[in-house]
């Protein structure tokens, strides 16, 4: 009689299903599941809704301040103003969203739908039929896209995309018009199952399925911009100083060249490495939600960014400022002002 398969520790099994739940992916099937995993997972599902402690405290002090003022004066506008101060991200957005400028934005949206199950959220056409702006949700993130024109040149972007099944997504992307750089493989240094392809619009896609789940890739978001930079090591302190980013894992060669780095801003991450081979710098546009666009704009300029656009209130309901980093990437720093 064969021995039982050794059970993985409950803590590991639990972490795997928690990780899968948090990124809405399917965990790999457990060979010998622990009977306590299911009831613990049902607690974990509820914990997804756990409120932020800071929010609970901030709202309480808002209410106390309002209560101490005249309760019946200007109720709605004061409430709206406070809400603006507390909630700075447009619903559905994460902290970092790539803004991809292409020739043929409509066709690009079709590609995202066919290749990656993209769901169109918004489309704002210009009078000439080109797209001024569009939003496509993929997984737990969003990609924004617009048509290039005489003033705005194309700015393709490299994206690291986490999916349920890298091989299946890879094949669908090829069918939708992409070209393979290399097929998904288990040999990628990240440890994930990982493949690379190019779409017809000049964007590169790293299609990956996280493997093993524990230790999971840092800050798992479906969509992570991937910036190949010259002198990438200088980007890390710049991101920290300009945008309050946090280095959540950097691997360097002994000489200090960045092999890979994950940087977190707010609730999302982006990745950088030293440009190499065909992976050369490709200045892109990133749309970042920040608590205070004015303050972050000023801070970015202080540490070496240049101004693209000073902070202004936009008709779509954000306060937005634009800066260019020393590597040529454009950052839109937005604060959601309410509807």
């Amino acid at each position: 009689m064969p021995k039982h398969l050794p059970k993985r520790p409950l803590a590991d099994q639990l972490e795997e299903v928690v990780q899968a739940m948090l990124v809405s992916l399917q965990p790999r099937p457990e060979k010998s599941p622990h009977r306590d995993v299911a009831p613990l997972l049902s607690i974990a599902r509820e914990l997804r809704f756990l409120p932020r402690e800071e929010f609970r405290a901030t709202l309480k002090s808002d209410l106390q301040r309002r209560a101490s003022m005249s309760v019946n004066e200007g109720t709605e506008s004061a409430a709206a103003a406070t809400a603006k101060a507390v909630h700075y991200m447009r619903p559905g957005f994460t902290s970092i969203t790539p803004y991809i400028i292409v020739n043929g934005a409509s066709q690009f949206i079709d590609f995202l739908k066919h290749a990656f199950d993209g769901v169109e959220r918004l489309r704002v056409p210009a009078p000439d039929g080109t797209l001024m702006h569009s939003e496509v949700a993929i997984g737990n993130g969003i990609i924004e896209a617009g048509d290039a024109n005489a003033q705005i040149p194309p700015a393709p972007t490299d994206i690291h995309l986490y999916v349920n099944n890298a091989d299946a997504t890879f094949d669908r992307a090829l069918a939708a018009g992409a070209t393979s750089i290399y097929r998904p493989t288990d040999e990628h240094p990240s440890g994930d199952r990982w493949g690379a392809l190019k779409d017809p619009f000049g964007n590169r896609w790293y299609i990956a399925t996280p493997r093993g789940w524990t230790p999971g890739p840092e800050g798992l978001r479906s969509i992570q911009p991937y910036l190949h930079l010259r002198e990438a090591h200088k980007m890390i302190p710049f991101l920290e100083a300009a945008f309050g980013a946090e280095d959540v894992g950097t691997h360097k060669t002994p000489e200090g060249r960045v092999l890979h780095s994950t940087m977190r801003i707010g609730n999302a991450t982006l990745e950088i490495d030293e440009a190499h081979g065909e992976y050369q710098p490709k200045p892109c546009v990133l749309h970042v939600y920040v608590p205070n666009a004015d303050a972050m704009y000023a801070q970015a300029l202080r540490v070496g960014a240049t101004s693209v656009e000073p902070p202004t209130d936009k008709p779509y309901g954000d306060r937005s400022a634009g800066v260019k980093d020393p590597f040529g990437n454009t950052w839109y720093l937005n604060t959601f002002l309410g509807r």
Binding site: L10, A11, D12, L14, E15, V18, Q19, L22, D36, P39, L40, I43, A44, E46, L47, F49, L50, P51, R52, E53, F55, R56, L59, K60, D62, L63, Q64, R66, A67, S68, V71, N72, T75, A79, T82, A83, V86, H87, M89, R90, P91, G92, V119, E120, R121, L122, A137, T214, P215, G216, P217, E218, G219, L220, V248, G249, R264, N267, F336, R339
Partner: protein, 215 residues
């Protein structure tokens, strides 16, 4: 203020005695606040509502009592943290502004708050369908609050606050901030294995407390 009828008081006490098995006399100090209230908890709540109605600074006590219920209900409906926070703020601002219009008619205060919350959720999903012809967030007909689910979730949220400090921090960072085990390990200066153990112990403790029924 309406006068308290002897009949009303005596019927409240007889109900309370039947419900609790305790003699009604011990409750006499709450008489004014508890008329028509069905349970001591409701009487207590009515006392808080009346206090806040005459002095808005005391609204904080009602907020403390009901925040988890309102937030948990909304968060379960909108599946988006920023929206949940936005709508929750709106509900409490509105409740504070309209507190004087709330009248005790045997309807618990939480039901009043959840009615405001339900309307806020419906308003938002209707606005979303108007803005986007193809919305992935259609109006939900089954919007009626499920009190059992709301109480369960609110109790769980309160239990998280009572976890040992490190376990509480792991739960917050893992589920609220959605940080990876690796990140949390770095932040806490612990090994990944230790963080996974802390996560496991926190969830086991919460599960035991939820099943045991003692908050």
């Amino acid at each position: 203020m309406a006068s308290v009828t002897f009949f009303g008081v005596s019927s409240y006490y007889s109900r309370a005695m039947k419900a609790t098995g305790r003699p009604g006399k011990k409750k006499t100090h709450k008489r004014a606040a508890s008329r028509n209230a069905k349970t001591p908890a409701q009487a207590e709540e009515r006392f808080l509502v009346e206090a806040a109605q005459s002095d808005p600074a005391r609204f904080a006590a009602l907020y403390e009592l009901h925040f988890e219920r309102v937030y948990g209900f909304i968060a379960g409906r909108v599946h988006d943290r920023a929206t949940a926070e936005d709508l929750t703020s709106g509900v409490f601002y509105k409740a504070l502004a309209n507190l004087k219009s709330y009248e005790w008619r045997g309807v618990p205060f939480v039901a009043w708050l959840l009615r405001i919350a339900t309307n806020a959720v419906i308003d938002r999903s209707q606005r979303a369908s108007r803005e986007h012809a193809l919305t992935d967030d259609p109006p939900d007909p089954g919007i009626k609050p499920d009190m059992r689910a709301i109480e369960y979730r609110a109790r769980l949220f309160r239990l998280v606050k009572q976890l040992p400090e490190t376990q509480r921090r792991v739960v917050q960072e893992r589920f609220v901030d959605q940080r990876s085990i690796r990140e949390i390990a770095t932040r806490l200066g612990k090994s990944e294995g230790a963080v996974k153990q802390l996560q496991l112990r926190a969830l086991e403790r919460l599960r035991a407390q939820m099943e045991g029924g003692h908050a």
